[in-house]
């Protein structure tokens, strides 16, 4: 039957081409890294770090992209002991993770501030509002200022349920106004904001397109524009409420079959890779000895930086979010 034949040919062609370009994962010496999607790709830090690492050690790096940090962890949990990953990269400090998945015998990294016994930090940032100085002259000085009529439709917030930056903002307000007061802040700004974006990239994209002159982001965001666009028009604003710190972690899987390679990779990440990581991610490196390009002078280092207690997050997040949902 002609139809079936054509059908089969197409299928075979595809499979054939697939076989021709082997996508094997297990090679003699390799390490597999599950990372969030933006780590990969042309503009992510992944490619350059992987290349540099391969050049240095000869170990092949397999980068696997996942659609966001939580999918990352979810996938690892789902794949269980069959998971080919050696390293999970991109876990943020507000996420709940099943620590049993990750290796906790991390003597090699004792110098670092290891969280929960298995999470190794590799970069960090501070949340703040950024302003487009060309579009706005009178800057808000605190979170409360944003409720003022003069800022109506002028700032972009992010949904804490779908974005770690959004979550950071939520925690910031809880820190600034307390668990009893944060909702009233949200109530006061919810009609004042231009929009509550679903992700940081949406929000930031709208910001750079000129939809609104203020956006919640990292204090290091202006650095990107200085480095790549040669402009200083974007500035991070220091608020009187202090600022929340966020850290990004990676972890080595307990089920990893390339433990030694994995450790080498993490070491690389924390040393030689720090600069390109900082530049690509536009975040601060954990390794203080790294020398940063001059553009980083434009990153705001606030006078008061607050860290949120992880246990508190774990205990209360569901309730905080549920309450937050109700105000809409």
């Amino acid at each position: 039957m002609k139809r079936i034949i054509i059908f089969a040919i197409c299928l075979l062609a595809l499979v054939g081409s697939a076989i021709a370009t082997p996508v094997t994962e297990e090679q003699a010496s390799s390490v597999t890294v599950y990372a969030y999607d933006s780590f990969l790709g042309e503009w992510g830090a992944g490619e350059s770090i992987a290349k540099a690492f391969e050049e240095k050690t000869g170990i092949k790096v397999n980068l696997v992209g996942c659609n966001g940090a939580s999918e990352l962890v979810q996938r690892i949990a789902y794949e269980g002991k069959d998971c080919p990953a050696d390293i999970a990269l991109g876990i943020s400090d507000s996420m709940l993770v099943d620590t049993s998945l990750f290796a906790s015998d991390l003597d090699a990294f004792s110098g670092y501030d290891i969280d929960q016994g298995c999470l190794i930090p590799f970069d960090w940032g501070v949340f703040a509002f950024e302003a487009d100085t060309q579009k706005i002259q009178s800057m808000p000085k605190s979170l409360e200022d944003l409720a003022k009529p003069e800022y109506k439709g002028k700032f972009i917030l992010i949904d804490p349920r779908t974005s770690s930056v959004g979550l950071g903002l939520l925690l910031w307000t809880i820190d600034a106004f307390g668990p009893d007061g944060y909702l009233s802040w949200w109530r006061s700004v919810k009609d004042n904001a231009l929009t509550i974006a679903d992700s940081w990239s949406s929000a930031y994209g709208l910001f750079t397109e000129g939809e609104a002159p203020l956006v919640i982001t990292y204090t290091t965001s202006p650095v990107y524009h200085v480095m790549w666009e040669d402009t200083t028009r974007y500035q991070a604003l220091e608020f009187t409420n202090g600022h929340i710190k966020t850290t990004e972690y990676c972890a080595i899987l307990k089920s990893s079959r390339n433990r030694a390679n994995a450790e080498l990779f993490v070491q690389f990440l924390l040393n030689e890779g720090q600069e390109s990581l900082a530049v690509a991610n536009t975040m601060f490196p954990v390794n203080e000895t790294v020398e940063l390009p001059p553009a980083f002078d434009y990153a705001l280092r606030p006078s008061r930086i607050v860290s949120f207690d992880r246990q508190k997050i774990v205990d209360n997040l569901d309730k905080w979010i549920a309450d937050w949902e109700k105000i809409w």
């Binding site: 299928l11 062609a13 509550i196 994209g205």
Partner: protein
């Protein structure tokens, strides 16, 4: 003869089963699994939460209003296409078809660039009116959702309704006219009832699309106020890691979709009975009115055409324009340049690979879905029940997030398959409803005797198909191929889920570009996607015309 046919039926059916029902079953089974045990508690938890009920209510409301808007505009557009002849009509038709196959992120992009506070429209108006503040503040609100949905679904309405309308002969309207009914009255009492079937058909498709709409709601809606089921499923599945809740929501969603499909089917059957009566053997060719000397009428018609073209081309043109406007430095004003195109086409860049991957996958899935649809056509036209037709429509309306999730779970067992194959297969299923929609009417209108004539003249069943039916079906086959190609080219969610991040297609690249706030390159790539869609549909139009000639 019968044996041969039943063989082909099972192949198509198995395919449907494997590619759609199994992944869905995988995903949905999670609704009943709590802590690795069978339980209904997940269902109870979700159903009891008033927030979920609110979301459901909102999803239904926005879908309903969006489809109302899309249908109204679609009816007007169909009328203009069916009743009048004017220059560049084919071009208008092609433009009307484009929005639908664009990935929704591109639609969102276009809307922001065109309608946004700093968009082209506002910039223009600000300059004209000499103000500093944006004049039209329509985005990030409920109306924005409706507008974007209308933009997206207008082509569906126009395509489905106008093809029926054009095929109708207008004797009945003439009769009404001779009985004293003015144009409006005649339309309301006589024409509209005849169009009921196609309006319902278009309406339910649009409703389901809006119900499962995602990117548009997320970005253009403006916040948590406007959350739909799909968004919530996405949140639960991807971010809260609460697969069982996501599955429950998906289950609820599915049930509602099935309900809508069922209602649609019943209404369509009823309306079809009325239609079939009217098929007379002698069809007068419909004389379309030219707008030559018609004063007010011409003005209204041209106004509508121009406004609708602005509405559709505005966001699309904005994408093109934005691709050319680059700024040497952010502080300077923008200048026109080809920088973005140079960038994305530079040697070794991901774009070329993305285009290659996309094309290959699109080609494969277009061919496969068309073949599958052809197989199913024969079976469906003979079947008594509409069950198979309904089921084959499902992929179009089921949450792509969940479908992707299902495939991903399935892929763990099918790891030997190349990612591209998997994606092509998923695209095949997604295009299948369109292929069917395109081929079924053509198949049904094949004269029954033609095949018999061929058989009596000595051609066996297979030959009869290829030598007699196929040439007649060819234009529809081509249309189905083009549609499948365009749809696959613009598909994002399933590709992201299955691609592992290493397989780059055009939409994935687009998504990444937007994510790394390189809007300009995103627009450059998007403009290429638009051009390809325009070409595909232009080709389809050309072929349709040749067929009629």
């Amino acid at each position: 003869m019968k044996r041969v046919e039943s063989r082909s039926i099972s192949l198509a059916f198995i395919f449907m089963l494997g590619l759609f029902i199994v992944p869905m079953a995988f995903t949905l089974s999670n609704a009943f699994i709590v802590d690795s045990r069978f339980s209904l508690s997940a269902l109870a938890k979700v159903a009891a939460n008033p927030y979920n009920l609110r979301i459901l209510g909102f999803s239904l409301l926005q879908a309903f209003l969006s489809s109302l808007l899309s249908l109204s505009l679609g009816i007007i557009g169909s009328y203009v296409l069916a009743a009048y002849s004017f220059r560049l009509k084919s071009l208008v038709r092609v433009v009307y078809s484009v929005p639908f196959v664009l990935p929704s992120i591109l639609v969102v992009l276009g809307f922001v660039i065109f309608w946004g506070n700093s968009g082209f429209l506002n910039s223009l108006l600000e300059r004209l009116l000499g103000t500093d503040e944006p004049v039209i503040k329509v985005l990030y609100s409920f109306p924005a959702i409706l507008m974007a949905h209308a933009f997206y679904n207008y082509p569906v309405a126009v395509n489905i309704i106008s093809s029926t309308w054009e095929a109708m002969d207008n004797r009945v309207e003439m009769a009404a006219s001779s009985l004293g009914a003015g144009r409006v009255k005649a339309f309301l009492t006589v024409t509209l009832p005849r169009l009921k079937a196609s309006i319902i058909s278009a309406g339910s498709l649009i409703f389901l699309y809006c119900f499962t709409s995602f990117a548009i709601i997320l970005v253009l809606g403006g916040g948590p106020r406007f959350t739909t089921m799909e968004v919530e499923i996405y949140r639960k599945a991807k971010l809260s890691m609460d697969i069982s809740s996501a599955s429950v929501l998906c289950l609820f969603s599915l049930v509602i979709c099935l309900l809508v499909l069922w209602i649609y089917n019943r209404a369509q059957r009823k309306a079809k009975m009325i239609e079939s009566f009217e098929i007379s053997s002698q069809k007068l060719p419909k004389i379309k009115k030219s707008l030559h000397k018609r004063g007010l009428e011409a003005f209204l018609v041209y106004s509508f055409i121009i406004l609708s073209l602005i509405y559709i081309l505005g966001p699309l043109a904005s994408i093109f324009l934005r691709a050319f406007l680059s700024s040497s430095s952010r502080s300077a004003s923008r200048i026109l340049s080809l920088k973005a195109y140079e960038k994305i086409f530079s040697a070794g860049s991901a774009s070329l690979l993305a285009i290659a991957n996309s094309s290959l996958i699109a080609l494969a899935s277009a061919i496969m879905s068309t073949l599958l649809a052809l197989e199913l056509c024969a079976f469906i036209t003979k079947a008594r029940t509409a069950a198979l037709e309904l089921v084959s429509m499902l992929p179009m309306v089921v949450s792509s997030v969940m479908l992707g999730l299902g495939y991903w779970m399935l892929s763990r067992y099918m790891g030997f398959l190349d990612k591209r194959v998997l994606i092509a297969l998923s695209h095949t299923i997604l295009s299948l409803p369109f292929a069917l929609r395109t081929l079924l009417p053509a198949y049904r209108s094949l004269p029954a005797n033609l095949r018999n004539a061929a058989l009596t003249l000595g051609a066996d069943s297979r030959k009869a198909f290829w030598q007699v039916h196929f040439p007649l079906l060819w234009p529809s086959v081509l249309a189905s191929l083009l549609f499948g190609f365009a749809i696959s080219l613009g598909e994002l969610n399933a590709t992201l889920m299955l691609g592992d991040g290493r397989l780059v297609t055009v939409p994935v690249l687009l998504y990444r570009l937007i994510g790394s706030y390189d809007y300009q390159s995103a627009c450059a790539l998007g403009s290429i996607l638009i051009i390809v869609s325009l070409m595909a549909f232009g080709l389809g139009e050309l072929l349709k015309r040749r067929r009629h000639a």
